[in-house]
Symmetry: C3
Subunit: 422 residues, 3 copies
């Protein structure tokens, strides 16, 4: 729970000499040295420099639709509560009482008109102000004892928080993600299902896995039926390129009137992130393979159209923000993945399926049709990550080379990561 | 299991600079900094300065009534055995063989005429002397290889041990506790039930919880029906004060002839501990609310009178000794709580219900009437402590202010603790 | 998983000053100080100096009879794969891909014509060469990216590996063990049963337990019915000595024609190891008690004769190699124990029963007759070791004296260990 790094300066610890040496040995285009995946001290540095610095996906607006609705989650040892105010704004706080530190909300979600600490009933408004603390001296300055605030932003149905005193600028993300997310209608969605996982792997292994489709062929039999992105410069045949081009052209023509655009038109995955230009967010719309209307087991639409869509043929909208979010959305549903660090070799993941807010389970959609595509794909990835972690723990592990044509995004992720850490 | 602190000098390690800095930042009247509740090094210091120094409640005389009867328990990584000798005296030893260190008694209780190590059958008298070690050279000095002794004291049915080479003076505790405990007759008691808990909280959080009734109103609905001590200077109405005065007067008059005295006559909890006067022990007799004869769910007596009592109307006898014991005794039963440290965020608690030694379960008392009052109250507290620990682990936690009227004893505990640590 | 020791220099870390002090305090003829059994840093040193240096028993030849048959196991955090090649030779590799470090074989045994990483299908020949890595640049030097090799040796049905870049000489072990193992026919054996254990004790406690029969009388009631080695210089009566002499003489006469010799003729255990002469391997043939043909519950043969034996009356063949192997073999079956370190207070043990390769369960042998003798004896020892560990963890533990007549081999083990560590 605790170490020298944190105690010395929770905001900006200096990097110990031992780690500087390891950092200096990182080789461009090759995987990271072992310590980055199992060392407690590097994990602590990750938490400080990345998880308590940048913008983290916290949940969906539709999880806290009314004033007083809240969700709570853990970032390492910090519990955060996100709650909608009387003014409709979403706010976030550290989920602990200013009196003696007790957790205030032990449940992961709920509704409250006041936040009352279960220990001595110190009572906070849902905007964090301390309202009551019976037994305390009259001259106690309550204005100094509100809940510790956490920065929060809401963008087209997604909620972000930052634990930093002065978080990085959110505007660039807002400007890019807002317009592209809008037609999906996540603001008018509801959660159909949410599954929590504990992945026995460092959070970076989970991201590296997410940043390439080099592993898809054998590991994701259902995913590759719907998508083109496991094809790369080296193995996209003439026929594949032709298919992609045809799909892109067809889609561009068809989508023009509804204002949707194909923003990723090539083989392989779109490039992300970009450390040099400080791009930790991105989104694009991609055509699915011929005949597929949704990322489902057989490509058929399985729930009512979401958002502004009037036709199921909208490809997939994909968004991702570092360090902890990605979403694939089809015409009829969206799937968000939230990562949270829980130790050098442990990552919590929550996968959430969203459908139109008016859709009724049993009548408008069935979970056994909605879930399998991304549940299988996710669980296949967690298994991969676990076995990679077990191998990387070996003292024999040495960094290996990335494929320039297949792992450019893994390399880009590593460069982004090292820049954040420096 | 192990750290630099211990290795350097198991008896009196110097306080590392890092901890000195944290100690220097403690603010009087405010809760302790985060490190005191989750830092491994501070936990180690706690074990050395407090748990391997002072007098620890070990168990009840009635748990080891005959020569050879023993109980064993763990103080952090040290197993201690308490055994009654042929001479009727209670002795304590480290529960490990002087040969190769094996645990001697793996069970938590039993009877033995000799203590025989299960590994190679080295055999010790129940006074700790090494009697036999076949296979060893004839010139081996057996007098140097007796069990490592631990100081032990017995006081009106309670057994205390100290791991210190030279423990603090026990006489003051003996002189104060002896007379007030005597009429309860714990020497003529038996264990009706014992429940073991593992509380996921630092031992100090458990004590701080015990040192105030600020939390009782909402958390202990049954406890507050029987007692007055959740009322404090700030919220004792005229009517409450009148009720207490009336109960005290009535009790004083009635108890005079049996030699019992009301030693706590005011609202709130009696003041304890007192770091300045080195008071780590205390006891008092308190009136219950009108009509309550016992700390049971409805206030009725549920077992035969204990000790010297001839009438159920004796209020409650309460005793507590730092760092690990408290007891509430009614006319018909007593309840002891023993705490033992098991890690920075883990405390073992054993709650033991005692009744008159001649009482027969089913005939004279029923567990479903005897247990609920303190079982519920205890388990409510453990839940509180667990959630406080989870909050305190947050990097956002900062010390908060104690209520002078409600948490004076928490503040007193913290002052006692810091004095012990210094 | 990680510490300064490893990072600084995985091959040969300098011994920290703190440990030097502890090492300097070791007293000849007395058990080791507490730190050797519970300190993380000493455990790390053990792994480096002993487990990643010497020859480790990996398994039996009969577990990988055909080309492509493999077994995998863990040495601390290193997974090792042992696989038989097309050329019939056994090879060993670190079980992780040179690309991004994923574990290649997640199962403990199997058969493969190629070793294919499940992540991105990098493909290795079973001799470790990298054959294919689609997507990588053409100019990637595949010869530099074969599986990390581990030294391997096969000797009369036993497989040994060493993680050291330059392992110690194996020839002396080969020369001594080869001839004495040969008649047992482990090369023509099969595994009848294998049981895995996690012993909650430091690996050295397990070895110390194995190095004396001082504890056998009370703890191993079945073992002492079959063997003489719990008798030592101090407690071998005239009658015992006479029985042993008679058995030895009888056996020598009878075995002469089949070339078997009684190599341990006295009371007590044969002396092993010998730090001064660098003897980490040994084997001998010992007579069983009168009328016992096999180490079974009643001494009767329970499976077909193994190897070159033509008569069940062959005593027991016993072999042991430090740091992780011992075997007791009777005329009809052999039992191997493999130890592997899994933390300062955790040791994995695999006990394997071997019978003639042609023996058929149910027809030629029954597990309920084959297993009990060594299953009981092993589990009795693991229980002893666990309770010794729990005692040794006490801060009150101090080294105790070894019996010169009963624990000479424990003392020899400790001297060997300290020499390896220095």
């Amino acid at each position: 729970m605790q170490n020298a790094l944190q105690s010395a300066n929770p905001r900006r610890a200096t990097v110990p000499e031992r780690l500087k040496l390891i950092l200096a040995n990182c080789r461009s285009g090759w995987s990271l040295p072992r310590e980055f995946y199992c060392d407690e001290e590097i994990y602590r540095l990750d938490v400080e420099r990345i998880w308590r610095h940048g913008w983290l996906f916290a949940g969906h607006s539709c999880e806290v639709p009314q004033a007083g609705d809240y969700i709570a989650f853990w970032i390492d040892s910090d519990s955060i509560i996100v709650i909608r105010g009387e003014d409709g704004l979403v706010r976030a706080f550290h989920n602990l009482c200013r009196h003696r530190g007790s957790l205030i909300c032990a449940d992961a979600r709920g509704r409250a008109s006041r936040l009352v600490c279960p220990y001595h009933q110190w009572t906070y408004a849902i905007d964090g102000k301390l309202l009551a603390c019976r037994g305390m001296p009259d001259d106690l300055d309550k204005t100094q004892l509100g809940l510790h605030p956490v920065h929060a932003r809401e963008i087209e149905g997604l909620i972000y928080v930052s634990l930093a005193p002065e978080p990085p600028d959110f505007e660039p993300a807002q400007m890019l993600l807002g317009p592209i997310l809008k037609p999906q209608g996540l603001t008018r969605a509801k959660v159909a299902k949410s599954i929590d996982y504990e992945i026995e792997a460092n959070w970076k292994l989970v991201w590296e896995n997410n940043r390439e489709c080099y592993h898809c062929n054998v590991n994701h039999p259902q995913y590759i039926k719907a998508n083109f992105d496991h094809y790369n410069a080296d193995d996209s045949t003439e026929r594949i390129r032709h298919r992609i081009d045809a799909q892109v052209k067809r889609s561009e023509a068809k989508w023009a009137e509804s204002g949707l655009t194909v923003s990723h038109k090539e083989t392989g995955m779109t490039r992300f992130p970009d450390a040099e230009r400080n791009i930790w967010f991105s989104a694009n719309r991609t055509a699915l393979v011929e005949g597929w209307m949704s990322e489902t087991m057989d490509g058929r639409q399985v729930a009512p159209l979401m958002g502004d869509y009037v036709d199921p043929d909208v490809g997939t909208l994909r968004a991702r923000t570092l360090p902890n979010f990605w979403n694939h959305s089809s015409c009829d549903h969206g799937v968000s993945t939230q990562l949270l660090p829980a130790g050098p070799q442990s990552t919590r993941a929550r996968v959430t399926w969203l459908v139109h807010q008016d859709a009724v389970e049993g009548r408008d959609y069935r979970l056994d049709e909605l879930l399998p595509f991304w549940q299988l794909t996710s669980e296949q990835d967690w298994e991969i990550c676990k076995n990679q972690q077990r191998g990387v723990n070996s003292t024999a592990y040495k960094p290996g080379p990335y494929s320039p044509v297949k792992e450019y995004n893994v390399d880009a992720f590593v460069r982004w990561y090292l820049k954040m850490l420096a």
